[in-house]
């Protein structure tokens, strides 16, 4: 209908504007740890003196990473959703361009926001093949940890934490604000050992649907995150 050249011309203009608008880049990494050393799936970790545990599966969503300065939002992530999967690597990197690099706080959601949850099936890191969408009830699992320990009085001594739920009163979405010193490269440590120091596997080892326990566990998970510049 219209000559192809016209499109290329507009595309060219758009791209040009894009380049002019380029700002400072900040790299953010999520580092999965177990007692300050990089987490390894399948490795046996000592716990509470005589016992041990193994983690076989660890995946969680981080979404809506935003940058603040003096309480005002000054930047926002382009990629809205991140799926952090211990199977791939214990280190997950992503980077952003922030207009005014002098931010003092990073805010993000552990899990997915309610709007995304309500939208249901989507693609990319939200595709159901990631095994992060519940099969028998609504919504995505925000945080999933599976493994085993003799402390669990369950079949094959398994523990399974499928932490999700976005409808009150069992909303497990945690929004975290971490104060930081603006820098080109920041690392957010996620030390899983602290989780098992708080949640006693002999008492709580199976959380599979939105309920009181899921909310309690989601609050503990939020305490595992800490930030430092590199």
């Amino acid at each position: 209908m219209y000559p192809k050249g016209l499109y290329s011309f507009f595309l060219f203009l758009l791209c040009n504007f894009g380049i002019n608008a380029q700002k400072n880049t900040t790299e953010i990494s999520f580092q999965l740890l177990y007692n300050t050393v990089p987490l390894e799936l399948g490795q046996s970790y000592p716990i509470s003196g005589r016992d041990s545990l193994k983690i076989d599966f660890l995946k969680f969503y981080v979404s809506n990473i935003t940058f603040f300065k003096d309480g005002k939002q000054i930047g926002k992530s382009t990629e809205k959703y991140h799926l952090i999967d211990a199977q791939n690597s214990s280190l997950y990197r992503t980077s952003y361009t922030v207009k005014n690099k002098k931010f003092d706080t990073i805010k993000f959601t552990i899990g997915l926001d309610t709007k995304t949850q309500k939208k249901g099936i989507q693609g990319g890191v939200l595709d159901p093949t990631t095994r992060m969408y519940w099969t028998w009830q609504n919504g995505f699992i925000n945080f999933k940890i599976e493994g085993s320990s003799r402390l669990c009085n369950t079949r094959k001594n398994k523990f399974q934490f499928h932490v999700g739920g976005f409808q009150e009163p069992y909303n497990t979405t945690q929004v975290l604000s971490l104060a930081c010193v603006a820098s080109k490269s920041l690392t957010i440590d996620v030390d899983i050992a602290s989780f098992f120091n708080v949640v006693s596997l002999s008492k709580t080892n199976t959380v599979m649907s939105p309920n009181k326990n899921a909310v309690m566990v989601s609050k503990v998970l939020a305490t595992l995150f800490s930030i430092h510049e590199n």
């Binding site: 219209y2 499109y7 249901g120 099936i121 159901p128 093949t129 095994r131 609504n138």
Partner: protein, 344 residues
């Protein structure tokens, strides 16, 4: 800045003109309400409906290639599981609930008898993954479809690349199911002015509006909300319904209100298929309603109906059977697709 905005605007306008403005609506009569299903997230196309149809009838979706969606949702039963109180799945295991019919799904906000699922696209994950239904997983199905002689081509026709993802499989399945619209019963013909009720049907219609319509609302014959209609809890299944999801005691024994369309094809009735005939259903409403705190107010004072009134009501319910819907070729299995497969 201003120039940038104008250019972007021009770009959008040109693109829109180029693509042509697409009509993206469900083919439903004007006396139906606005559908709940968000078609913008899954634009309608004939190719998608056809592919969804093939998947719906394909036993490849189960672990040992023995069970398809249609095994429990048969077109001749308005996509319910006729003659089975509880549905059978893989390895002949028996489920805990009666398979509901599938039609007018685009107007439903909640799925399953207890509304465990709010999203039609996501619903299929439940039977696919359930150990006693199809016993598979969406990942396994992605693998099988990728290696199939025909499916990658069909995905390519729709998405212009042959990538097969969980999202695409589910949306294509949902699109076929959304296309299952029942709107050709005698009641519908009367709405369009091409048929009229008999005297007995009018009498039945009046009994319906004063006793049943508060829950089974026209024109879909369900509000698709939840209610406790006074069924006694089944002591073997101990199914408490909606309370399982909300954990609210006032939701004990609330189940999703089913549509009264196509009842001739969907027996047995209720979430556990406890009644075989409409007579038994009416016996329940007139004599069997169990009082409890969560019983719906519409049933608190009881319903009384004479034998004649019951007959008239059942006659009216007969006008809601949609023979065209259950015999429509476009909803049935596409035999060519499957026959040619076997030859390969």
């Amino acid at each position: 800045m201003k120039i940038k905005r104008i250019i972007i605007g021009a770009f959008i306008v040109l693109t829109a003109t180029y693509c042509g403005v697409k009509k993206n609506v469900l083919d439903s009569p004007e006396y139906f309400p606005v559908p709940h299903y968000n078609i913008d997230n899954n634009p309608i196309s004939k190719a998608k409906t056809t592919l969804g149809n093939n998947l719906f009838y394909d036993p490849l979706l189960s672990a040992n290639n023995s069970i398809s969606c249609a095994s429990c949702h048969s077109p001749h039963a308005a996509f319910a599981h006729t003659d089975h109180d509880l549905s059978h799945g893989i390895h002949d295991s028996i489920g805990t609930r009666n398979a509901p019919p599938l039609f007018n799904l685009a107007w439903q906000e909640h799925f399953m008898w207890d509304g465990a699922i709010d999203n039609l696209d996501a619903q299929a994950l439940a039977p696919i993954s359930h150990a006693t239904e199809m016993g598979s997983s969406i990942n396994e199905i992605v693998g099988k479809l990728k290696n199939h002689p025909k499916y990658p081509g069909l995905f390519n026709d729709i998405y212009k690349d042959s990538l097969i993802t969980g999202e695409r499989i589910l949306k294509v399945l949902a699109q076929f199911q959304v296309s299952l619209i029942s709107n050709n019963s005698k009641y519908d013909q009367i709405q369009r002015g091409t048929a009229t009720f008999t005297q007995q049907e009018i009498s039945g219609y009046n009994i319906f509006t004063s006793n049943c319509a508060s829950c089974h609302a026209e024109p879909l014959f369900s509000s698709y909300g939840f209610a406790n209609n006074g069924l006694a809890i089944d002591s073997t299944l101990k199914d408490i319904g909606r309370q399982k999801i909300t954990k609210n005691p006032m939701d004990s024994m609330l189940f999703k209100i089913p549509s009264l369309r196509n009842l001739a094809y969907t027996f047995p009735y209720m979430h556990d298929g406890r009644f075989n005939t409409l007579r038994e259903v009416l016996k329940h409403y007139t004599q069997g309603v169990q009082k409890s705190p969560s019983l719906h107010t519409a049933l608190k004072n009881g319903i009384t109906l004479t034998k004649k009134e019951q007959t008239d009501l059942i006659t009216f319910l007969g006008t809601l059977n949609d023979r065209l819907f259950i015999s429509s070729k476009k909803h049935q299995i596409n035999r060519d697709f499957f026959i040619k497969n076997e030859g390969e």
